[in-house]
Symmetry: C2
Subunit: 257 residues, 2 copies
DNA sequence: AAAAATTTGTGCGTATGTATT
DNA sequence: TAATACATACGCACAAATTTT
């Protein structure tokens, strides 16, 4: 364990195992972020100022910042400063997962955009997910979704034909899945399963989501079923991992805003 | 988006019905993978051989391979060949999430390793997650978990003291959380919430998980509670995204092997 | 447009306390 | 006890990126 210099004010608090100066500084900054005394987007004092305030060397402050940056709470930019990262949008996943509701719950303005729609024969995995014969016709709808104008996710959803022949047009009008499904006679639907993987964004995804190349996305595949347990939608969505975290709550009752 | 050259069959991707040569080839390979005619790890024929078999130019085969590689089904290695990727371990998340059960369900041998255990004062987020006062003592247990000997995840779990003073020793003996909690008098526990983010692996995570630098991890934070809804464990786990996918099933009843 | 100032990033050397051998 | 390895912390200097003058 590290050395403890009793003359150092920052190290005078606790003296347990593993309590080092840089850890104390990191905890203090973390607490400031947690209490919103350092709100998202806020610029921290410079490393030199923090070092002076805590009475330590600049390297020690840098060690604390590095620890918080690794956990995604801070982001240091050479020449500009160090900033508090935005809290990710919390996106609950459960039996009644709906994009627009999830975004609105966090007091953001949801939006959806239809990029492309085409009829294609189902590939093997699409056919399996929708429980239809291989190469049966489906409509593939490419979408991009927003919260307050910033892109959150993009992806392709597949729906069987001819039942959902009118889906694309309805989605284009509404910019949301639920009303578009309603236009096709689906009063209610349920999320059957959600698979979550992670990978680097493809070039197309990076362009659509306005991500720096190499940033990572949460790759989510989902199956929705209607009231009769018939699969109606197979989706393949990439969420910008910088802006969203997925939340699986076992208490599926309510999420207060 | 790429340019559109009508004389090039592969460039019809972004227009029309989407039934292009490379798509047909990709579907065929995908189907072979789906029915295990191309098992995980298998090497594909060379691009030249595939081009000859399908009667297309090698560029067309490359377009199909690129599409499947982007979805993680294939991996092309310059100079070596193209290989079928291993199917990721499917890791169900729900009210009764347990690592060892999840791994055993997929017919793999689970394992756990205690890397380090120390008593520390709770940071603000730990204290909030466990519903204890700030800076209250907790035990932080660093673990690494395996399936069939290959590392799957690493992370730190935090448990309040003095209730779980014996946890670390019990975990070291058993290599699993559930029996270690039982040793502390917790007969049963429930997953309260799970937050899923994604990011690049840190240097330490890359080393522990045997990942190439820059590969991505699923960063999962979880809270488990005992029968009285008292938080007993706050975990912060990084899953190697190459080797595991998280599965949220609304029908939480059963998963057949 | 160019120069200066500011801020983070990197490297080296030194010293000290902790843990292991 | 001694030797060794390691993590922490300090001090100085300079490089690289950005903003301001």
């Amino acid at each position: 364990m590290p050395g403890t210099d009793d003359t150092n004010p920052a190290s005078a608090l606790y003296r347990g195992k593993g309590v080092t100066a840089w850890r104390l500084i990191a905890d203090e900054i973390e607490a400031d972020i947690a209490v919103l005394r350092l709100p998202p987007g806020e610029q921290l004092p410079t490393e030199a100022q923090l070092a002076a305030r805590f009475g330590v060397n600049r390297h020690t402050v840098r060690r604390a910042i590095a620890s918080l940056a690794e956990r995604g709470l801070l982001k240091a930019a050479q020449g500009r400063g160090t900033f508090v990262e935005n809290w990710p949008l919390s996106y609950p996943i459960g039996p009644r997962t709906r994009f627009s509701e999830n975004v609105a719950r966090e007091r953001h303005q949801p939006g959806g955009e239809l990029l492309r729609a085409e009829e294609i024969p189902a590939t093997p995995v699409i056919a399996h997910a929708l429980s239809i014969p291989a190469a049966a016709p489906v409509v593939a709808v490419s979408t991009r979704r927003f919260a307050d104008g910033t892109p959150i996710s993009c992806g392709i959803i597949h729906l069987p034909l001819p039942r959902f022949a009118g889906f694309a047009a309805a989605y284009r009008r509404n910019g949301a899945v639920t009303p578009a499904l309603a236009a096709c006679g689906v009063a209610d639907y349920r999320r059957l399963e959600t698979r979550i993987a992670a990978r680097s964004a493809s070039a197309e995804e990076a362009a659509l989501l306005d991500l720096a190349p190499g940033r990572v996305v949460l790759a989510v595949t989902s199956i929705n079923v209607d009231d009769n347990q018939v699969p109606i939608e197979f989706g393949n969505t990439a969420f910008a991992a910088d802006r969203v975290e997925l939340l699986v709550a076992s208490d599926q009752a309510e999420f207060k805003p």
